[in-house]
Symmetry: C2
Subunit: 307 residues, 2 copies
């Protein structure tokens, strides 16, 4: 099944795909896909059945899309999780490294990515995203996929200019037994992602959440990114360094996963035959429309508005 969250003139509502062309409204208590995935399975199935049998429908071309989960407890993204260019990493962890995007950064399919000149360079990062259906901590690898409700698309919009601005070269305080005050200073670099990853509209998400039964292997999906129709990235989720199950098992050792949480699996990086790289797509200079397509999941497209 494919679910979405839309703004219908006077209310926000969850819908289910009735065909390639139409969606059907879920009962009014389902205001968001988080309501759908938190519902007991039999109640969810009954609601879908009722919607497909008798609810009002709308053509997909007329929808005002919202992020499928409008206010997830967290949007957690895995950094540098692509095997396309491991030579880029001089040193780094052997486990998934992650950051958090705030829910206020999310926008739906078709909504604009709004940029200002002083945001500097801004590029798209096309990613498969997991939507968690079941709470869990210390989830075993073999049980990990049972915590997934479905898959969607995240465009992890990033400003490397702001990343540079919000990086400190500094003296970290480390404990030391040999000094009078018990500390010593160690030169370090640390970067803080709230702005460069988390600014408003830096999180296009959707359009659909596709349930796991329709995605038998999340690591065999072609993923492309186009700018104004031109193919820039042409990759496959087979190139993910850490799998969905590995990320869920590792992350949940530290951060409890909650229903509605979104996990961005890391940027698809392999450049298309025509060359180029998403990091080269300076949306702030180019404007235009950026489109991410993942097999079986859908197409997420957002125009750039320079304000």
């Amino acid at each position: 099944m494919k679910f979405a969250t839309i703004q219908h003139p006077h209310r926000r509502t969850a819908v289910v795909a009735a065909s390639e062309q139409e969606v059907a409204f879920l009962p009014e208590r389902f205001t968001d896909i988080e309501d759908v995935l938190r519902a007991p399975e039999d109640e969810r199935h009954a609601a879908v059945h009722e919607a497909l049998a008798s609810a009002a429908r709308l053509p997909v071309t007329e929808l005002s899309w919202l992020p499928p989960v409008t206010r997830p407890g967290k949007v957690m993204c895995v950094a540098l999780n692509n095997s396309a260019n491991p030579d880029r990493i001089i040193s780094g962890p052997d486990t998934p490294a992650m950051f958090i995007k705030p829910s206020s950064s999310l926008v739906g399919h078709g909504q604009p990515i709004r940029l200002r000149t002083d945001d500097g360079r801004v590029h798209p990062e096309p990613e498969l995203a997991v939507v968690i259906g079941k709470q869990g901590a210390d989830i075993a690898h073999d049980d990990a996929l049972s915590h997934v409700f479905g898959y969607t698309i995240l465009n992890d919009i990033t400003s490397p200019t702001m990343r540079g601005e919000d990086t400190f070269h500094y003296r970290a305080i480390h404990p030391a037994s040999e000094t009078a005050d018990g500390v010593r200073f160690v030169e370090s670099w640390v970067s803080y992602p709230a702005r460069y990853k988390g600014a408003d509209t830096f999180g296009p998400l959707g359009p659909w959440v596709v349930t796991t039964d329709e995605v038998p292997d999340p690591h065999a999906l072609r993923i492309t990114c186009r700018h104004d129709g031109e193919l820039v990235t042409d990759d496959t989720t087979a190139n993910l360094r850490f799998s969905v199950a590995e990320v869920i098992a590792f992350a949940s050792r530290y951060l409890t996963l909650e229903p509605g949480d979104v996990i961005g699996m890391g940027t698809a990086l392999r450049t298309s035959a025509k060359g180029g790289a998403v990091q080269n797509l300076d949306l702030n200079r180019l404007g235009g429309v950026v489109t991410v397509t993942i097999d079986r999941i859908g197409t997420l497209s957002n125009p750039v508005h320079r304000r």
Copy 2:
């Protein structure tokens, strides 16, 4: 007024301080301080009046405290925002640098900070925290404090071990007109804070949210951090590099602030007369109880549980 959120045997509820010794239950629809601050002012005042006049009371010593806002849209923290030791920074931004802690990291007053051996070094970071009452983007400096509902305490628990583990030394992809594929590689460092700042229980918050009318100057508050009763940090919010209004104005240019959002204003760092530094307090080695006190705001105390 002082508000808190507590777990009462069978439900979560917001309460208001009736005296130094007692809290009164707010009406049942207020399940969390987010419900309190989102309510229209007259409705909130009526609810408080009703609670103080006739609602059941509980002694503060018998409360099971939750984070005042249990699932904020975001917890945004300002890094390195203390003027006590500017010599630590070799280079860095002239504006607030920020990161996001997930709501799943929050715990209430008295709840344990749960650590495992392989979390490595873990230290407390005592901070004044702002609770946003009114949505806003591009908030003017002079209007910024009108967006604050109240103040609370955040203990921004941090693992420098995990910070080191989740730092990459890598070749960032930058655009370049002079190369055949249009990119060049620039050696950079980047660190990802989801684990080292965002692990479960790394966000003790509370106990109270104290409304702004009781905190005439948020930059004149003594802030201390004690470990097992021993004074470690003795600082004042006068040492904040960027003020509450400056942080709100700057941050809201990029990230819309929403009712219930929490902003951690940055770690109080000035060491007590006895010396030491919070970075030296390795809670994973020492265990014990860590206590943060801020004038007018309260005392947040959490035991360490090594699991």
